[in-house]
């Protein structure tokens, strides 16, 4: 096994060793089962050691794993039906944000999320998950549609940021995101948000105002990427590890700072290691929350939603 990241090397070394022993056993017909069990135990222990002690930067790397499941994968794995809806009705259909009506265990939902694409061609088609204003406006159109038919909204967030392009500015990237923040805070249906990968600044927040906001275990969420932070503060990308620590962008830190409502645990080694298991966990979380939120009066839900975001921030008064 070739490790994706440097910090996974100890695991891949053990895995190679295991393969060798297994091969030797097959060829020589000598019983190495004790050794095999020993190595397997070591692998297990090393995996726990590695994945439970990841630094901020290592979690950022995990969040960008090329095989990490994306919105359409989760929809495929969680939903019985999915009717994808396209377009903002004004300019075009943004491919970086997808969405539509779906059912989960028979319950109707509106699912909206970033789609980065998996190979070079797809990534270009999806603009690497960096939406233009049309993407945010499509998302809002879908949310208003969900509100009209009293269907809860689920947002899956995974973006390096809103696209910083010329046309994006012309068509009001700032206004599009701002409008979503305002409208989502008073949307008259339950809203659940999950940072499933990268949560970079306004591009993430633009579909990130929810009654419950969760981060996946190996995701990150902040106002800026560690690379950009490093280049602004230290004039080079070399300090991205330091920047990742300083930004306190991990799920653990975000929860500790009361900026999110919870953490969704990932399979050992990350979502890409067991996508089905990841989708099942996500689905269970969604069902639990929809059940709980569905019991509340919508006015109360909106008041609590606004109060939650209004309480974020640390100031001194004297």
């Amino acid at each position: 096994m070739k490790p994706t990241f440097d910090f996974e090397k100890p695991i891949s070394i053990l895995m190679e060793e295991l393969e060798k022993v297994k091969l030797a056993q097959e060829k020589t017909k000598v019983d190495f089962s004790a050794t095999i069990r020993e190595i397997e135990a070591k692998i297990d222990q090393t995996q726990h050691n590695v994945y439970n002690n990841l630094t901020g930067w290592q979690k950022v790397q995990m969040s960008r794993h090329p095989e990490r499941p994306q919105t359409l994968d989760y929809i495929e794995m969680m939903c019985e039906d999915f009717i994808e809806l396209h377009g903002d009705r004004t300019v075009k259909d943004d491919k970086a944000i997808v969405g539509g009506f779906a059912t989960i265990e028979g319950k109707p939902v509106m699912i909206i999320g970033h789609q980065k694409g998996k190979n070079t061609k797809e990534r270009q088609y999806r603009n690497f998950g960096m939406a233009n204003p049309e993407g945010y406006r499509k998302a809002l159109r879908l949310m208003k549609l969900a509100e009209k038919f009293k269907v809860p909204v689920i947002c899956l967030i995974d973006t390096m940021g809103a696209y910083p392009g010329l046309e994006a500015e012309e068509r009001g990237q700032g206004e599009a995101i701002a409008r979503n923040l305002l409208e989502m805070s008073v949307l008259k249906v339950p809203v659940l948000c999950f940072i499933v990968g990268e949560g970079a600044s306004g591009g993430a927040l633009g579909i990130g105002i929810g009654d419950k906001v969760y981060m996946f275990e190996y995701s990150w969420y902040s106002v800026i990427s560690p690379e950009s932070c490093s280049s602004i503060l230290w004039r080079s990308w070399d300090h991205k590890e330091k920047a990742a620590d300083a930004l306190k962008l991990t799920a653990e830190d975000m929860l500790k700072n009361k900026l999110i409502d919870g953490i969704v645990k990932e399979p050992l080694g990350g979502a890409q290691n067991a996508p089905d298991q990841m989708a099942a966990t996500l689905k269970a979380q969604i069902l639990t929350d929809l059940d709980e939120l569905g019991k509340k009066k919508i006015e109360k839900l909106i008041t609590e939603r606004i109060d939650k975001f209004s309480s974020m921030g640390v100031v001194n008064e004297h």
């Binding site: 809103a162 500015e169 009001g172 701002a178 923040l181 306004g202 300083a246 921030g313 100031v315």
Partner: protein, 282 residues
């Protein structure tokens, strides 16, 4: 994506351009370089009377330009920045705050006040670029939120004067969430049908543009102000092309449909007051 720009050079005037003469302070117009006397500037609402250039000013001057007789009650003036992340870059965030306070005489990048404009009540929150590039941290978000609460409670229109390099990186995600907080409060103001005027001044960028600055019942600006979401350098690096002349100017933003009008600072008070009279006439 970098919203936060290092504070570029001088805010209103560089020290070397500010001179003491027997008849008072004077400095040079940053655009046409002609001499402007301090008393003339106050008289002329800090607009160069030679070329019409709108000099970058702060909350003190905007309050003076807008409030009747410069009379107002300052609101929430006791709020100062915390340091929830214990952020350190070239210096400790707490030291940076204290030094900036000493240098500018401001407590953070925003001040709020309530007073009258042509006899009508108005709450104004105004950003100060001098304070860490007008960056939006918890104090900025909280003061805007409380100003909106004040407007709601007393049924007084709200004017937000934005001037910002964007998010305050030293408060990271706390800074990001100020966008959510202020936008949520504005939703309540809109539901109560209380007028909200957003004045975007030079420069208004990043997370400020992507939240309260773009959410006015009317969005207005001053001639030549720079307004955008992403910084021009980032856009240039992304699209690998030069940007057209006038890109992200107030005139450009108005042409693309995101500003209602651009107003000369000397006419601003009358125009805002007139708007408020019309929408409050019921």
């Amino acid at each position: 994506m970098s919203w936060f720009k290092r504070k570029s050079e001088g805010i209103t005037t560089k020290t070397e351009e500010k001179k003491e003469t027997p008849d008072g302070l004077w400095n040079k117009c940053p655009s046409c370089k002609k001499v402007l006397h301090n008393s003339e500037q106050v008289e002329n609402k800090y607009v160069c009377h030679h070329c019409g250039y709108h000099i970058r000013i702060g909350s003190k001057q905007y309050f003076e330009v807008l409030f009747d007789n410069n009379e107002f009650t300052e609101l929430f003036s006791n709020l100062t920045s915390g340091d929830p992340l214990h952020f350190v870059d070239s210096k400790k965030y707490t030291d940076r705050i204290i030094e900036t306070m000493a240098k500018t005489g401001l407590k953070d990048a925003i001040r709020a006040g309530v007073g009258k404009i042509e006899g009508q009540d108005l709450v104004i929150a105004c950003m100060d670029f001098e304070f860490i590039g007008g960056s939006m941290g918890s104090v900025v978000g909280e003061k805007i939120a409380r100003s909106i609460d004040y407007s709601l409670k007393n049924k007084i229109p709200f004017l937000m004067i934005s001037k910002s390099g964007g998010a305050r990186m030293m408060e990271a995600a706390f800074s990001l969430m100020q966008m959510a907080k202020t936008s949520a409060k504005l939703a309540l103001l809109a539901e109560a049908k209380i007028p909200y005027v957003s004045l975007l001044t030079d420069p208004t960028t990043g997370g400020v543009t992507a939240s309260y600055a773009m959410l006015g019942d009317i969005n207005i600006s001053e001639p030549g102000a720079m307004i955008g979401f992403a910084g021009p350098r980032v856009i240039k690096e992304t699209i690998k092309k030069d940007l057209p002349k006038g890109f992200q100017s107030a005139e450009f933003v108005k042409e693309h449909g995101f500003l209602d009008f651009i107003v000369d600072r000397r006419e601003m008070k009358a125009k805002i007051a007139s708007f408020l009279r019309i929408v409050s006439n019921n």
